[in-house]
């Protein structure tokens, strides 16, 4: 089903919030797609990084339901390649934080099997908790 949207000022609020939280002028993204093509994790994503920017530009809150920002590995490949000089990693972080700050964790530590926890180095557990829990 093709979604139909009506652009209202409510959409601008969401755009403003993400722009402020990320410190990026999201409206300057010209959708060239370099970020998506650079992203090592894009194959597993439901929307591409450029698409994520587009949804934010249009103020569409449903971007918060997507999986893409959780699959991001914060590798900064998009950051060093964006021809407009935008930092997409910060936009992804802003979207994650909007969810996490509402106490909606992305992973449940308790559900990770014990042997896996023992196997994982601290660096993985700490970074995983930082990125996926509030």
């Amino acid at each position: 089903m093709i979604p139909k949207i009506v652009l209202t000022s409510g959409h601008v609020d969401f755009l403003k919030k993400v722009s402020e939280l990320s410190g990026q002028v999201v409206t300057q993204c010209d959708q060239c797609g370099t970020c998506s093509a650079s992203c090592p994790m894009v194959d597993g994503m439901d929307i591409t990084p450029a698409q994520m920017m587009r949804l934010v530009q249009l103020g569409r809150r449903e971007v918060l339901e997507s999986k893409a920002m959780w699959i991001c590995a914060s590798c900064f490949a998009c950051t060093v390649r964006c021809p407009r000089g935008l930092d997409l990693s910060k936009v992804a972080e802003a979207l994650r934080q909007i969810q996490l700050r509402q106490a909606i964790d992305h992973i449940d530590i308790k559900s990770i099997p014990k042997d896996e926890i023992e196997r994982l180095p601290q660096i993985a557990l700490v970074s995983g908790c930082r990125k996926f829990t509030g």
Binding site: A73, D87, E93, L120, R130, F132
Partner: protein, 300 residues
């Protein structure tokens, strides 16, 4: 004597990374002393504009370096060396953040009222930068056992090279590990995927994705002719080495590829056989080394 920040994993699962590094440094005439009362850096840098609290931890570590100078423990030494790529990244970015935002520095300093104020003097270095400063010719002269015939592929990962403000080399065309390996006498094999992310913290909840990345990175290295891969980060090490188990679940034909810390090869080359730590690698490199006539005597 230069202060050195170990970070959590180097004290436990990756302790052989630390041991080999410290000995290698000593061999080159540099004493790395562990930062007193250091705390975990946080592993990742907080990327939102309004979050100051997550910069407190890394800044405290930087303050320790300034304290060491004030107390006279070291003299005019404001460099802080990190081994782990993630620690290096977080510490350096914390410093840059407060340098670019003096208002934020003031707030953080005020919050940590029991600590001295951070003056902004610390220069965060990765161990590779220190080696570059020491000079690859000197490293070459220190080599006792050239790694001749060993085909090694450098793997940088992300956080040493991106974003540009922390990069220790050109993000798209880094050469520092190649120069190091050449100095050690090894044959350097270029891997076009040397700067592709290993998956980082996704290893916690999405092993499959990490396995795919590892498969791509290591297969390509092999295709280019590499016999082993070196890295500088305990998380990269885990994803590239430990996760080969998961790679074989999906790609049963995948041959194990030894992954080592670059300091292990340095130790091997310098003849510091007791700290090479080859018994601790997830993928045993000793058969390969033996084949090349480079095996160590003794326990490690």
């Amino acid at each position: 004597m230069i202060p050195y920040f170990p970070g959590c994993t180097l004290k436990t699962k990756a302790d052989f990374f630390e041991t080999s590094a410290l000995r290698v440094a000593r061999c080159l005439g540099t004493e790395l002393i562990e930062l007193p009362r250091w705390n975990c850096c946080g592993t990742v840098t907080s990327l939102t504009s309004d979050d100051l609290i997550h910069h407190v931890a890394p800044l405290r570590d930087l303050i320790r370096v300034e304290d060491m100078n004030t107390s006279g423990e070291i003299y005019q030494e404001y460099r802080l060396v990190a081994l782990c790529s993630m620690c290096f990244h977080v510490l350096k970015r914390a410093h840059l953040r407060v340098m670019q935002n003096p208002g934020e520095l003031e707030k953080i300093n005020n919050l940590m009222y029991l600590e001295s104020d951070y003056q902004g003097k610390v220069s965060v270095l990765h161990f590779l930068e220190l080696l570059r400063d020491i000079g690859f010719p000197k490293i070459q002269r220190t080599v006792k056992r050239p790694l001749a015939g060993l085909r090694v592929s450098p793997y940088y990962g992300c956080l040493l090279l991106r974003p540009k403000e922390v990069a220790i080399d050109d993000p798209e065309d880094p050469a520092i590990l190649s120069h190091l390996l050449e100095a050690l006498g090894a044959e350097v094999i270029n891997n076009p995927f040397k700067t592709r992310c290993c998956g980082s913290y996704q290893t916690v909840c999405d092993k499959a994705a990490v396995a795919e990345l590892t498969f791509d990175i290591l297969s390509r290295a092999r295709q280019e002719g590499a016999e082993c891969v070196i890295t500088s980060c305990p998380l990269c090490m885990f994803n590239l080495a430990d996760r080969q188990k998961e790679v074989r679940e999906k790609h049963p034909e995948f041959e194990p590829m030894p992954v080592l810390y670059f300091t292990q090869l340095m130790a091997l080359a310098f003849g510091l056989d007791d700290v090479c730590g080859f018994d601790q690698n997830a993928v045993d490199a000793r058969p390969l080394l033996q084949e090349k006539g480079l095996s160590t005597r003794g326990a490690s």
